[in-house]
Symmetry: C2
């Protein structure tokens, strides 16, 4: 047979095929670029990749419609460092001098007196009631706008004592990649933190790419008043609406999201109920816990018999056993992460 003459319509078909192939190749390149470059190969990484494939591949029997793709992340110790104190705790301590300058009568009153002394050992021993007084005094009693400015100003200058860097640089690079990977796959990422909801909102969009409406945290009561020009003003009142920790994390998710997460990530017993609630749903579910076992690159405060304990955010042995029993995947910072922080070489 004679070859067919190359008519314009044949050429146009050829060009369409070429365009199609070029586009497909582009897609293939984008898909094969490693979305989790800071994760070492292993069970933790594989469980993430398997979960994402099972819930986002339209051919998968466990496919999840995009509107139901909800992933919730604890913050302190899960997305960023929480030692020697969760960042908001340091903020509250740092606010005391300004507070006492505005209200000098607090100077000789506990817990302000002890905080002003700078005696870390004495501060660590303050009873719970005094800590609550400290939180209420530094996190309420101002307008929402004033609070936002105070937090922003503090974050712009405060540095942690170990790395001498702004706190917002102490996020875990592998978790940042995980957030982005899930979002690229249609997941809506939420922070569900025991920290103050409006504290985290100040920096979460810039720090994690998570907007204010996707921050679930400990919630305080507010009230409305009018300023001298007649404009409405939101005041932060010394009233607890919801303590977003333990069972409160599930209550917070019900309140703020209204859907059961498909994936949840935490690092302490404060995350237990969120992980249980996530795994109790049908279909593919992912529950993961960050184990702090890297004393060189970060801190080690896991199960007592394996690792040295430090004061905060403990991950006791029975919690580790519960994780294994419940099919929660434990992430070893030491063994599963190529690097912890973006600023590492």
């Amino acid at each position: 047979m004679k070859p067919a003459q190359r008519s314009p319509s044949f050429v146009s078909r050829t060009i369409f095929v070429a365009i199609f192939l070029a586009l497909s190749a582009g897609t293939a390149i984008a898909q094969t670029a490693d979305p989790l470059p800071s994760w070492k190969p292993g069970a933790a990484r594989q469980s993430i990749v398997d979960f994402v494939r099972a819930t986002t591949d339209p051919a998968s029997p466990q496919f999840v419609p995009v509107e139901e793709r909800i992933a919730t992340f604890d913050q302190d110790g899960t997305l960023w460092a929480e030692q020697p104190l969760p960042t908001q705790g340091i903020y509250c301590l740092d606010r005391v001098p300004a507070l006492v300058a505005a209200k000098p009568e607090l100077k000789d009153v506990e817990p302000f007196k002890t905080v002003l002394s700078g005696d870390r050992a004495a501060i660590a021993k303050l009873p719970m009631k005094d800590l609550e007084t400290l939180l209420m005094a530094t996190l309420t009693g101002m307008t929402a706008d004033q609070f936002q400015v105070e937090v922003k100003n503090w974050l712009a200058t405060a540095k942690d004592t170990r790395w001498k860097r702004p706190y917002t640089e102490l996020t875990y690079q592998p978790m940042q990649e995980l957030l982005q990977y899930l979002r690229d796959k249609g997941y809506k990422t939420y922070i569900v933190t025991g920290g103050g909801q409006d504290f985290v909102r100040v920096y979460a969009e810039k720090t994690y790419g998570i907007p204010p409406e996707q921050i679930v945290g400990t919630m305080g009561g507010t009230s409305l008043s009018y300023d001298d020009s007649g404009k409405p003003v939101i005041n932060k009142d010394p009233k607890l609406l919801l303590n977003d920790n333990h069972a409160g994390k599930v209550e917070g998710i019900y309140l703020m999201i209204g859907r059961r997460p498909r994936a949840a990530f935490g690092n302490t017993p404060g995350d237990q109920q969120m992980l249980e609630y996530t795994k109790a749903g049908d279909g593919a579910r992912l529950a993961m816990l960050v184990l702090h076992d890297d004393v060189v690159r970060e801190y080690a405060y896991g199960p007592a018999q394996h690792l040295p304990e430090v004061a905060m955010g403990a991950f006791p042995q029975d919690y580790y056993d519960m994780a294994i029993k419940n099919g929660w995947v434990v992430i070893s910072m030491k063994n599963d992460w190529k690097r912890v922080f973006a600023f590492e070489k």
Copy 2:
């Protein structure tokens, strides 16, 4: 000059141009199709179009980044009919027989006795304390999952007395178009309702295209327990967390969204603070009120001197005056809407 020979590369350029023009034409057609076909030309419609152009045209001095495009909508009387009673009120009344069947001791106790009598006049006269008892008894004391099933089942069969249609068909077609128009322009649409947050969540995604996490409403407390199989269960407790009406709407927006809306829509004095808060922000802001002045196609319950008053959702004269003074745009159902409901001819 001789015409250039039609080489394959010339043909490929031609095809690219043809594809480009075809795509551009498609875009142009999509952009010029009327996004608000149920709105008559006039000040209300124009204020919407002007606001959207000012905040979404990149060349506009009042351009708003997409992440800050938040629009909040009251529900009852703003997105759907609220006469003779807001739909959730009818749900609570309709639940009483099932409640009394489960707890026969309530049969002779107020307000259940009066509700069971079916005497509408007596029901309308029940004191506020009795109404609160009724709400708590029908909206709390079950698991969140049970509640969702009860509401879903009721919505599937209940019909309003005037149009004999499911309540979810009583949404205002012009407002549905407005929701879609704003979403097409990058706005995140929220319901901010005095109704129960988890009641509205049951149907809002299907009815309005608004997902559960974008419903802000009156919030009740919950608690966590475990069922016989060890799975966590969310219980709806008889505890009010936030009454999402009047100032509570601003508090609810702060809690659930954490950003000031760019546009807000309501219909009663319960929306006043939300509209004030919205307009108090900088740049272009839109505040609108639906005026029920269409006794033929829906109901008329606006300012007393102009329109017959009915029991609920009043729009008193001083509120009308406040709207005009504050630059809030009043939407006349009678004059601004070509049709009210989708089911109209």
